[in-house]
């Protein structure tokens, strides 16, 4: 029956349409983010300032709002990408940059660089430090998974242990640090899109957008991993290799997403789940869609954070937590099927 083939092709077309809609959605939200702010620039003003011109509008758009918007998109899509990849590789619906402790350790790496270089560090130092610490904890998780042939729960436990470890270390730094250092660290843990310039954006962009096509290329292998290691190997997937390099790349992406912005929780865990509910588990569609949803989530959270108590800016990490928690509970309640 060509019927089944046709139905499947129809489904594939719907997934593609959803992807396109998401891109459109991202553009809309991004534009709203650009036009919002204490200094009223207006729609027309923003558009003109984007394309050229000079003066205050131009400065506001290019120096303040555009970097902020781009960083939000990068951080959101990076966290979502990393979360989706971790979930596929560890075959664990609870995996995410935070529940595996990888984001916390990357964060600690960034904080270490900031505190110990007393203002002399460049974005390379911060990013490098974040990545190294991210790798340390991700290899720890991999090692545990191999040693104890870990269940999903074991991995999350290990991840939470790592998270507490680095969080305690950070608290120690705060305890020992100077006032300025403490403030920096504390603000870092709230998450912030405010202090990013184009240098940081290029660095983060490279760390997130360079691994992305490689990870996308492995979509079929991620699909097959869902069927079990044995089944995947028998179908030609090099499971060990995918797992190792996948985790390294996802750690790089995680480090890139947060080393300049601090803690932005929930996005890495929730984005893949939301996307999966609509689009299913085919990673050829899941990976890009998840990234878009992550970007939209963070952008929207930033819009909320900037407008709720204007002119005060609520740190992004706080907003995502507030949005994330009830949303996640809602997902739990509404679950129709017995899995994620």
């Amino acid at each position: 029956m060509e019927d089944i083939s046709k139905q499947f092709k129809g489904l594939t077309r719907r997934k593609l349409t959803f992807l396109v809609l998401l891109v459109a959605g991202l553009f809309c939200v991004a534009f709203v983010a650009l036009t919002l702010g204490p200094a009223s620039v207006g729609f027309k003003g923003s558009f003109e300032a984007l394309l050229g011109g000079s003066g205050t509008a131009h400065a506001i758009i290019w120096k303040l709002r555009l970097p902020r918007m781009v960083m939000a998109i990068l951080a959101g899509s990076g966290l979502a990408l990393a979360g989706t990849v971790f979930q596929a590789i560890l075959r664990n619906p609870l995996a995410s940059p935070y529940t595996l402790g990888i984001a916390s350790s990357a964060g600690f790496g960034a904080v270490t660089a900031i505190v110990f270089s007393a203002g002399f560090c460049s974005e390379y130092h911060i990013a490098g430090s974040a990545f190294i610490f991210a790798l340390i904890s991700s290899f720890f998780i991999l090692g545990i998974a191999k040693l104890k042939s870990a269940t999903p729960e074991t991995m999350i436990l290990a991840g939470i242990a790592i998270m507490f470890f680095f969080s305690s270390l950070s608290s120690l730094f705060q305890y020992m640090g100077t006032m300025e250092e403490v403030q920096e660290i504390v603000f870092w843990f709230f998450g912030s899109l405010s202090k990013v310039g184009w240098g940081e954006i290029s660095m983060a962009g490279a760390m997130i957008l360079l691994p992305a096509p490689i990870l996308l290329k492995w979509s079929w292998d991620f699909n097959l991993l869902a069927g079990g290691d044995d089944s995947a190997k028998a179908l030609g997937v090099n499971v060990e290799s995918i797992r190792r390099y996948g985790i390294v790349l996802a750690s790089l992406v995680t480090a890139g997403a947060i080393c300049f912005t601090g803690v932005i929780g929930f996005v890495g865990l929730v984005s893949p789940h939301i996307t999966r509910m609509v689009i299913g588990s085919d990673h050829r569609f899941l990976l890009p869609s998840s990234m878009l949803i992550g970007a939209i989530l963070v952008l929207s959270a930033d819009i909320v954070g900037r407008t709720l108590w204007a002119p005060q800016v609520i740190p992004i990490g706080i907003v995502t937590s507030f949005i994330g928690v009830p949303f996640f509970l809602y997902l739990l309640m509404k679950r129709q099927r017995d899995y994620w």
Binding site: S5, F8, P93, D230, A234, L235, G236, V237, S281
Partner: protein, 269 residues
């Protein structure tokens, strides 16, 4: 077509398989039986190229299974483990499509889709093509996993307990499907089985494993004897021949002197 010589496999320090050898022709169905822990699954995994043996060789069409590229091997040997995808929502169609992975680079071709659709139709799974794998019953899931293996279009199929959790009808359907595939398409199949009767009915050759070693190998009526089953399984049986193949009726575990019915009554006192 498939030749195994002097196969040894150990897990950590424990020897799991010792000196296993066998030959398989096109269209032949080989049943591997043995108690739990005898090494059936391990043997299948060695043949599938998943677990590397310490000694010995596994040759398919005279080529070493461990010397081949994984994708090439996947086009020659299909492996159906006991469980399927879980935890994430996957449709039946996508599950079977996974079997085409050795032939797909990014986009499934028309032919790939056709192979999957035809298989689903011939296995009576067309109605649930777009339903989620997790929502199916045990029997339907097993048929889907079988379809996934058939979709690989290999010359050799390895199946681990294909009738494991199935009801009577599904057991028959699955075994007949495998048998038909073997006869009509010349596919060689190796099945690790617990059910001795199904095995002796559908297999051309039976390998009886005990403690990782070949206890005996031959036609069903040669292997399925009272003495063999008592030695390997520790169960007394009665063997009759029905429709040309041995039919095994278990009587009691060896060493028990009381009739099991009476024993239950005694324990109530």
């Amino acid at each position: 077509m498939l030749r195994i010589k002097g196969l040894f496999f150990s897990y950590k320090k424990t020897e799991v398989l010792a000196d296993i050898g066998l030959k398989l022709r096109k269209g032949e169905v080989l049943g591997i039986v043995g108690p739990n822990g005898a090494g059936k699954t391990t043997l299948l995994r060695c043949i599938a190229g998943i677990s590397k043996p310490e000694k010995g060789s596994v040759l398919i069409d005279d080529r070493d299974v461990f010397g081949m590229r994984r994708t090439d091997l996947a086009k020659r040997i299909g492996y159906v483990p006991q469980t399927g995808p879980s935890k994430f929502p996957v449709t039946v169609f996508e599950t079977v499509l996974m079997g085409r992975r050795p032939y797909i680079s990014w986009r499934p071709s028309e032919n790939d889709l056709k192979v999957v659709a035809d298989l689903l139709r011939s296995m009576d799974l067309a109605d649930m093509a777009l339903r989620y794998f997790d929502q199916l019953s045990g029997g339907q899931k097993q048929k889907v996993l079988l379809a996934k293996a058939f979709a690989q279009e290999t010359d050799c199929l390895l199946l681990d307990e294909p009738t494991g959790n199935l009801d009577l009808r599904h057991q028959m359907e699955v075994m007949e499907m495998i048998s038909t595939m073997a006869k009509e398409k010349g596919i060689a199949a190796i099945l690790a089985m617990h059910d001795l009767n199904l095995t002796s009915r559908f297999a051309d050759t039976i390998l009886m494993l005990n403690n990782g070693r070949t206890f005996c190998i031959g036609a069903p009526d040669q292997v399925m004897t009272r003495e063999n089953i008592t030695s390997v399984y520790g169960v007394e049986t009665e063997i009759n021949t029905s429709n040309g193949y041995p039919y095994i009726l278990p009587i009691r575990p060896v060493g028990q002197t009381v009739d099991s019915g009476q024993r239950a009554v005694d324990s109530k006192k």
